[in-house]
């Protein structure tokens, strides 16, 4: 038997169709289910997910293994997530999870099992030319997940396959249904995987970070309410401020414009188009280039400052190997420190960095 391709299977429809597709293409496929979070709280669905993965693997007659990366996840992803929130920033744990868990711990595990490559159900493409591996957007523009994969390097890309990168999501579901996969209609996971639905978010964070309520000021410095703790808010947030301007209110709604960490003050601005909510420049650090080095031309580049944002034209100026400034052609709404900015040239995902501040 040839060396296997090991598919990271989650119990969801995308990774299931990934395994099925590779099997149909004649690969020797084995599946591995990753458990990255310990806990029996209502938000963690891993037991049901495992059962779904097992049902799919039995249906496809593929072996299923399990592996526990909860320690790696806790140390290398969750700790960072909590530290960032404690600093009032808005981290993105999924990009780190990909770098530290799926394309490191899991990849190592698969290689130890004798695999040539791993495969996942991400909507993105890998193209090799002249020994260089490029990460391209998935052809389904609405589902493209390259944003979450920008921290991958040449080594990981050379050992990975994304069989869904060339397919539309709706065709993935169709394939699943026509092949009798039990999870063809299973809801896509949303939000942060270990918190679950958004409504649990506050309760969850409170378990790990002490809360420090304080005042809300308008952009002009007028007190206008109280907040539960700066970490619960993110730039551009409208809901849950408790200061009017809600639906049906004649007054324009309020948005989070800034955080004064030193004085524990949340700063809000009224109206979606308020200039305080827009910035044209940002500074980012922890730069990562997928090719291993910066592109030759730093102009005619576009960027996303959040998942599923339309590409925004910008110009990068590197300040050091680790730090850069980005100037957008147009001012950007609610740039959130802690989030990732991901750079593109057309479909080619070049890399990215973590937003540090904006001005």
């Amino acid at each position: 038997m040839s060396n296997p391709i090991i598919v990271g299977i989650s119990g969801g429809v995308d990774s299931s169709v990934t395994a099925m597709t590779l099997k149909k293409q004649g690969y020797n496929v084995e599946c591995v289910f990753m458990k990255n979070w310990e806990g029996e709280d209502e938000t963690c669905t891993s037991e049901q997910d495992y059962k779904d993965a097992l049902a799919v693997c039995n249906h496809l007659n593929l072996p299923l293994r399990s592996v526990n990366f909860s320690k790696e996840y806790w140390n290398n992803v969750f700790q960072y997530f909590i530290d960032e929130y404690a600093k009032g920033r808005t981290p993105n744990p999924d990009v780190l999870c990909n770098r530290e868990v799926k394309f490191k711990a899991f990849l190592d595990f698969a290689l130890e099992l004798g695999a040539n490559k791993i495969a996942t159900g991400h909507f993105a493409r890998i193209v090799e030319s002249d020994g260089l591996f490029q990460l391209l957007k998935g052809v389904d523009g609405d589902k493209d997940q390259s944003y979450f994969l920008y921290l991958l390097g040449q080594d990981a890309l050379s050992k990975s396959m994304f069989p869904l990168g060339g397919i539309d999501k709706k065709n993935v579901r169709k394939l699943a249904e026509s092949s009798g996969l039990i999870n063809h209609a299973k809801k896509d996971s949303t939000g942060v995987c270990f918190i679950g639905e958004q409504k649990f978010f506050k309760k969850f964070l409170k378990k790990y970070i002490p809360t420090q309520p304080g005042n809300i000021h308008t952009i002009d410095g007028n007190p206008c309410g109280e907040h539960d703790g700066l970490m619960f808010y993110t730039m551009g947030q409208r809901k849950g401020l408790g200061i009017g301007g809600g639906h049906g209110d004649k007054e324009a709604p309020w948005f989070v414009a800034d955080k004064d960490l030193e004085n524990n003050i949340l700063i809000v601005a009224q109206g979606h188009d308020h200039p305080a909510l827009f910035h044209q420049k940002l500074e980012a650090d922890q730069i990562h280039w997928i090719s291993g080095s910066p592109p030759h031309a730093l102009e005619n580049i576009s960027a996303k400052i959040r998942y599923r944002q339309m590409d925004q034209s910008c110009k990068i100026t590197t300040l050091s190997t680790d730090r850069c400034t980005v100037k957008f052609d147009k001012p950007q709404f609610a740039i959130a420190p802690g989030q990732s900015i991901v750079f593109y040239k057309g479909d080619d995902c070049l890399g990215g960095a973590i937003i540090d501040n904006r001005n």
Partner: protein, 371 residues
């Protein structure tokens, strides 16, 4: 497919299967019915009860049929809620069917002390003596550990309980058929058994309750099992269970010596093939054929996957609901460090395993650990 995971469960014995099939086919009556079909089912159950009682030297009215060994444990522990003395002494290496239950019934006022074990997995009787409180109402200590096979010093432990007048329960699901077991010799108040651990059916077990020992039912209904366990009896399951008990006890010396031989062969060969392995558990006081062995430098989940590819089935420490390997709490309690813990396999032989199978297990283990 070579199966070396008999501590997890055993394949059903052909004679047990035959008994169950023939009863399932013909005798469907409800044992509580007074017509002929019901009377026949009743007689099957009562004769099963007598067979089991005889096999472990109990009296027939000391046997209560349950849905599992876990359920037998639960009846005994939940029963505490009705008692005045609500402190339990148990051990740190019990099955979750003891430890999780005790955590769950804490709101009912039940408190517990989990005795630590030594490096071999044994409870020290002195520790038991020192942990007894004025409100200790039950001592529950397993006879044979499921992961390492270590046998606890039952006589010493039970003697202490008796001298203090405290009822003693033991989870004995891993013991029957692998070590001689007589309720007369043990003199415990409650013992839990599970059919599928000794070539009987799944979904049926029994509780031995010494005559005179207090017990309150957990499942209430139509008053079956002398009101201790309501629910229409699993007639074929109970018949299969009794046949499995009978076979286990009748053939015990043959089974033990077969397991000892397999264990000896395995240990001898694997020690040559993989000289840096470590055996866990008590070198002397353990049931035959249950081997906990660590392969330093190798992850047990990788070893399991590679063995699975070759069609060889063993297990590792403890698997959770999603099938992934976590450090075994039992090995942890024995003072084994995490790295060794996560490199440990449990190999448990059974009556159908052959010397050839053991030899091929060793050569496969040797191949996958020398890459």
């Amino acid at each position: 497919m070579p199966y070396f995971d008999h501590s997890a469960t055993t394949p059903i014995h052909p004679q047990v299967l035959e008994t169950m099939n023939s009863i399932s086919e013909i005798h469907f009556g409800n044992p509580s019915s007074i017509h002929a079909s019901g009377r026949k089912s009743r007689s099957i159950i009562e004769s099963a009860r007598r067979t089991i009682a005889e096999a472990i030297q109990a009296s027939h009215n000391e046997i209560i049929f349950t849905g599992s060994g876990t359920e037998a444990n639960n009846i005994v522990l939940w029963s505490l809620a009705h008692l005045e003395k609500k402190h339990v002494i148990t051990s740190a290496i019990e099955h979750p069917a003891i430890l999780k239950v005790l955590e769950t019934i804490a709101p009912l006022g039940v408190t517990f002390t989990a005795l630590s074990v030594d490096e071999f997995g044994q409870v020290n009787p002195e520790d038991l003596k020192n942990s007894i409180q004025s409100d200790t109402g039950l001592i529950s200590i397993m006879m044979v550990n499921n992961e390492v096979g270590t046998i606890n010093p039952m006589n010493a432990l039970i003697k202490i309980a008796q001298s203090k007048g405290i009822p003693f329960h033991s989870d004995t699901v891993q013991a029957l058929g692998k070590t001689p077991l007589s309720v007369q010799d043990l003199n415990a108040d409650y013992l839990s058994f599970s059919g599928h651990k000794f070539y009987g059916p799944k979904g049926v077990g029994f509780l031995y309750k010494k005559n005179g020992a207090l017990l309150n039912p957990l499942i209430i209904g139509g008053g079956q099992e002398s009101h201790f366990r309501a629910g229409t009896e699993n007639v074929p399951g109970i018949a299969g269970l009794s046949e499995a008990v009978r076979l286990a006890v009748e053939n015990i010396s043959k089974r033990i010596s077969h397991l000892e031989n397999l264990e000896f062969l395995f240990k001898e060969k694997i020690s040559i093939a993989c000289p840096n392995i470590i055996f866990n558990g008590h070198p002397e006081h353990h049931v035959p054929g249950v081997i906990s062995v660590s392969f330093p430098g190798h992850r047990s989940d990788i070893l399991l996957a590679k063995l699975d590819r070759e069609g060889i089935e063993v297990s590792s420490g403890s698997a959770c609901g999603s099938g992934s390997v976590k450090p075994s709490l039992i090995l942890q309690a024995m003072g084994i460090l995490e790295e060794q813990n996560l490199s440990t396999l449990r190999i448990s032989f059974g009556r159908s395993n052959s010397f050839d199978e053991v030899t091929s297990l060793v050569s496969t283990l040797s191949n996958i650990t020398h890459v």
